[in-house]
């Protein structure tokens, strides 16, 4: 069942055509979705803050992003004198390309369960409704999110200016810290699904709500993933990277015109991709009831609705939560999320091991409980000792 059935019997021109269409559709979809995401965010925040928001360009201000994009194209493209010319130009493209590539592994439709394996038939060929289904699936997402750090980091350094540099150092420290929690929450899902391929992960969740990994992994990995993803996206309340009160605009202070637009685009595109990844990992991807006719149509509708719900949540965060202080950010990441997801990972692995090897219920969980209790108390003691030493230092100073 590994791999897209499109490539099983060799590759001919029709296959290449289907592939090209898929790439084109995904690319256009993501661009248009990003455009409306910007509008959606501005409009929703205005509603939450009792304002009207964009309402001039097009009906309900729908064309506002389009107008902004045109404006960006015609603005002067500035480059600071101290900037490193090559790297300064390279950085926005790294951000944009990684944002596009991550979306390629997300299955956006196809009916799973009930004997069908999530394929649709186009021009008489069976294929998955996703651009690519590499065997390493979800690892590609992690790889892309670690490459995306370069975009921000290099932008800040190459600007040759102090605020961008501070912003980019903050950004890379934050991204590296939260990537650990993000990765381990993903590992929990991979253990439950028994596969790395995104298509396989969705297939493993088919067959009703109780099979979704949100439920069967016990919600904790999802919460950790949501928090870590928000931090990874540099969205409020974790937007220290571009804290305008301290850093002007963070890493993109010196960017203008179309290069700034690329960063802007990448940021919103990443929000959409991350929402889609969460739907894939924890909410069964395109799973949902097929109401009438057209079996290929409904899964995509359910997928889009679920993604929309997450986009709403991200905007809601921004309108509700105040920004964290830098030490609070590091505290939350290293001292709370990572130990929590580590314990949860061990617990889930043990549960799976017990199921496969048929170990005694009481002995397994008894031993696990004792081990976890010892580990947790050691950790707590360590944290308290660290806090006390820190307080003493503060008092001495």
């Amino acid at each position: 069942m590994t791999g897209d059935p499109l490539y099983i019997d060799g590759v001919d021109l029709t296959d290449i055509g289907i592939m090209a269409v898929k790439v084109l559709v995904a690319f256009t979809f993501l661009l248009v979705a990003t455009m409306f995401m910007v509008w959606f965010e501005r409009k929703l925040i205005s509603d939450m803050q009792n304002r009207i928001g964009p309402n001039v360009a097009g009906p309900w201000g729908l064309l506002q992003t389009f107008a902004d994009g045109v404006k960006f194209f015609f603005k002067e493209d500035l480059r600071p004198e101290n900037a490193d010319p090559l790297v300064f130009r390279l950085a926005p493209y790294i951000s944009a390309v990684t944002a596009f590539l991550s979306f390629a592994v997300v299955p956006i439709g196809g009916s799973f369960g009930g004997g069908s394996s999530g394929t649709v038939t186009i021009f008489g060929r069976e294929t998955f409704l996703q651009v690519a289904d590499p065997p390493i699936g979800i690892l590609l997402l992690l790889a892309m999110s670690s490459i995306a750090v370069y975009g921000v980091m290099l932008a800040g350094w190459a600007s040759g200016s102090k605020y961008p540099l501070i912003g980019s150092v903050r950004a890379s420290a934050q991204a590296i810290s939260y990537e650990a929690a993000l990765g381990m929450a993903t590992v929990v899902v991979v253990i439950l699904a028994g596969t790395l391929s995104t298509h396989g992960i969705v297939a493993a969740q088919s067959g009703g709500f109780s099979r979704w990994f949100l439920v069967s992994s016990g919600i904790v990995p999802f919460i950790v993933f949501l928090i870590a993803a928000t931090a990874e996206l540099n969205r409020p309340p974790f937007d220290l990277v571009e804290a305008e009160q301290e850093l002007v605009g963070g890493f993109h202070t010196e960017y203008s015109s179309i290069r700034f637009a690329l960063f802007f685009l990448a940021e919103f595109m990443n929000v959409i991709t991350m929402s889609a990844i969460m739907v894939t990992l924890f909410f069964g991807g395109p799973a949902g009831p097929i109401l009438f006719g057209m079996t290929w149509f409904w899964p995509t509708v359910w997928f889009l609705l679920k993604v929309l719900a997450f986009l709403f949540v991200f905007v809601w965060f921004r309108a509700t939560l105040p920004r964290l202080r830098y030490d609070q950010l590091m505290h939350l990441g290293w001292k709370l999320l990572i130990p929590l997801i580590l314990f949860w990972l061990m617990f889930i692995s043990l549960k799976e091991l017990r199921a496969t090897h048929d170990w005694n219920w009481l002995a397994t969980y008894g031993a696990a409980f004792i081990a976890l209790a010892v580990g947790a108390s050691l950790l707590l003691a360590g944290l308290r000792a660290g806090d006390r030493a820190y307080q003493e230092e503060l008092e001495e100073a």
């Binding site: 590994t2 791999g3 490193d84 090559l86 790297v87 590499p134 065997p135 390493i136 690892l139 590609l140 992690l142 790889a143 670690s146 490459i147 750090v149 370069y150 980091m153 290099l154 350094w157 540099l165 980019s168 150092v169 890379s172 420290a173 590296i176 990537e179 028994g194 596969t195 790395l196 391929s197 396989g200 230092e393 001495e396 100073a397």
Partner: protein, 184 residues
């Protein structure tokens, strides 16, 4: 045909990157060239059906280690061209030349003389692809080589603790420094 083409392109990327690492004047450019080499190697892994290794290559080396390099370069402010005329030992350059030439000769001799696999060991993944590949790798790592694996992770933990201990100033000098600041 396609395999050869992929190999040639990826090898060209690797070698260009490797040359760039030593020829670039700016340390940040060198680090970026290193990323390029790592990507080339990842492509070679994919061409050999070792998808998992390719992903790990990008996540760990390009995503974490070189980011740390860049971190240090940016924070310590060594991001400008270094004076290459400076050498620490008087015979440093000659010694480097001799060793580099020797290594090149040895490598060349190996390529000419040896015409069979050097270790004779088969790849763990074999011809398996997809999830089977990862499964076999994990089984080998956590059963046959479990001691080496655990010892390596222990070594890394020791290194982390050592770094923290070295980076922390002893309490006495720290409070002295604080007092000094207070006086000024």
């Amino acid at each position: 045909m396609v395999d050869t083409l992929v190999f040639i392109i990826a090898a060209a990327i690797c070698l260009t990157g490797a040359l760039g690492v030593i020829l670039a004047r700016n340390p940040v450019h060198s680090a970026l060239m290193l990323v390029m080499t790592l990507f080339g190697i990842a492509v070679q892994f994919v061409a050999q059906e070792a998808h998992f290794l390719a992903a790990v290559q990008v996540i760990v080396y390009a995503g974490a280690i070189v980011v740390l390099f860049l971190f240090v370069i940016m924070l310590l402010g060594v991001d400008r061209a270094q004076n290459l005329e400076l050498s620490i030992l008087p015979i440093q350059r000659w010694a480097a030349l001799v060793f580099a030439g020797g290594s090149l000769l040895l490598l060349g001799a190996l390529i000419v003389v040896v015409n069979e696999p050097v270790t004779g060991a088969e790849a763990v993944g074999g011809t398996a692809s997809g999830d089977e590949n990862v499964r076999l790798l994990a089984r080998s790592l956590f059963s046959d080589h479990v001691y080496a694996f655990e010892l390596t992770s222990l070594l890394l933990v020791i290194a982390v603790i050592g770094a923290v201990v070295l980076a922390r100033k002893p309490k006495a000098t720290q409070s002295a420094a604080v007092e000094e600041q207070g006086d000024n």
